[in-house]
Symmetry: C2
Subunit: 337 residues, 2 copies
């Protein structure tokens, strides 16, 4: 198995990327190779500065250009044909790599993957699937940002893709799929959700009906389906909960010794809560529905996050999630009414 | 000032409603009267069972019917003309009350208020404005559930209404208005937000541009504008954060004495965080844009929440928020392009 990784993508690239790759390569099984894609001299220098006890399965493929984190995806696609993103995606296209991992410009990664690799047969819109912590086990929420507005059929397909991910990667049996809306009744929501509710009800999926905002963290479902606008708002909202808790605790901790002591004793638990809410901790999130495996990481990813993202890519390839999605869509009828 | 309250609305009505009214009536200034609307015999019995040190400014208006919490609003409107909701709204319509407070069926309250009172001139869609806690001061988020899908002009008007609420009730000077989207650039979002961004930019409002999910709790703005689908999902999501924290802490607390002690010492701070996140604590939220003052409470409202909701109603009437909205819309041009 070969995993291509964008060495130049991310706020602090290539440092944490190369570090994460070295960590991952020390752990992978025989037969797995990690390909660092980017400016070769820069990457080689980074690699050389690291102590490696043995030769690791890491190779380098040169790409002369770098897409900036804020660059417009369409322009980057047109003007930077030799960017690390384009070269890496091209490796997948030519069968020289099985998966692509990037902490770079998400829009550019999505655009390149969509144009060069194309969609799985029957999929109208790829979606980003993120894991959220819950009171029980993690829940897959999708889409969290690839599609700002969605039709019913897109939401329905997100349900199929999310369920496949939950069964293949999270090992949930008959994963429960919920449709995020603003009331439990099937008539509640907007035009797209009301129609998607019907489609999901008539599918072989284990569809439990509409869920509400509060059901995500409670862990009532394995998969929560929503459009990328709502999903992205909730994902980023989650990022800021820790700040509110910290601000609240600080006010108390400053006031009395009792609280200072309490916070000190309880710190590991509070840090675990913070870690739970930090989606960078999950490493990378898959862009589902593509004709290839593509893992997107947070721009600020640490080496640890990169290492985890590489593990997610390996799992995706090994479990062959894409074949599962294809099969599900054929069985369910991709456009079932 | 006369405030009508739906004595029959809410999961445990009329008990907490009457209790909240008695508490509120003990505190109001001279000249304010609270009108309990509902089944007179039931209300009188509730009132009699309470010790009142002096005669309180509470009156009762009879309404023979009760709208169930899950009843379809359209059917309730048609079949229950003598419900506590309809009779109370009618008091406003006939000028016999200045505000209406209800913990009853939200859809039925909105429908009755919209049909009987009508909208303020220039307002296309009334919106529910909720307060969210932040690291600094509370932020007004609207809409949180009245409109499942919105056009740009609706979002723009939510900005005007939210800013008026923030200045008149929260006493913010030149309140900062943000548009909730999925990227800071004006081009990011869906069709409605992209167009609303333009409209807000060209208005006299203190518009700070797009904000993202994480900006709500950080308190970067005074007003966050969104459609009722997104707002409702985030509102209900917020409700469930406390459950996640509790579940996380419980796992630790069970494992070691150290954590048990820490949690005990820190409990008041943790409870304050929970209280912050519990929107029932804010009492009631206004339905803005109506030709009248209408405050909606959580179905499970406690007596304290009802007391607070009555206080919000008083503030709304006293500060004459509706005249402020009318003035703002006229100045800004209700449909400005």
């Amino acid at each position: 198995m070969k995993i291509a990784i964008d060495a130049m993508g991310g706020d602090k690239a290539p440092h944490p990327i190369v570090e994460g790759v070295v960590q991952a390569a020390s752990l992978v099984r025989e037969g797995t190779e990690i390909i660092l894609v980017g400016q070769e001299s820069v990457i080689r220098r980074e690699l050389k500065s690291r102590f490696m006890p043995r030769e690791l399965p890491i190779s380098v493929v040169h790409a002369s250009q770098v897409v900036g984190m804020d660059e417009a995806p369409a322009i980057a696609m047109r003007k930077k044909r030799d960017s690390s993103i384009m070269v890496a995606v091209d490796l997948l296209k030519r069968g020289q790599a099985d998966a692509f991992v990037s902490a770079g410009n998400t829009g550019a990664v999505m655009a390149a993957a969509l144009v060069e690799l194309g969609r799985l047969k029957g999929v109208s819109r790829p979606a980003i699937a993120s894991l959220f912590p819950t009171e029980r086990d993690a829940v897959v929420v999708l889409d969290v940002g690839a599609n700002a507005s969605c039709k019913a059929v897109h939401l329905y397909q997100f349900g199929v893709m999310g369920a496949t991910y939950a069964s293949h990667i999270l090992r949930r049996r008959r994963p429960k799929v919920g449709l995020l809306s603003i009331g439990e009744e099937s008539s509640k929501g907007n035009e797209a959700t009301v129609k998607a509710h019907q489609m999901l009800s008539h599918s072989p999926l284990n569809f439990v009906g509409n869920i509400e905002g509060r059901d995500i963290l409670r862990g009532n479902v394995d998969v929560a389906v929503c459009d990328g606008f709502v999903g992205n708002v909730v994902l980023k909202f989650t990022e800021s909960i820790d700040g509110l808790l910290t601000a609240q605790l600080r006010r108390y901790v400053m006031s009395r010794l009792r609280y200072r002591l309490g916070a000190h004793l309880l710190m590991p638990a509070l840090l675990a809560f913070r870690r739970d809410l930090d989606y960078a901790e999950y490493g990378g999130v898959p862009l589902l529905g593509l004709n290839g495996v593509c893992i997107i990481c947070h721009g600020g990813s640490s080496a640890k996050a990169i290492r985890k993202a590489i593990a997610v890519a390996q799992q995706m390839v090994k479990a062959d999630v894409n074949s599962g999605i294809l099969r599900q869509l054929q069985e369910n009828g991709g456009m079932k009414k």
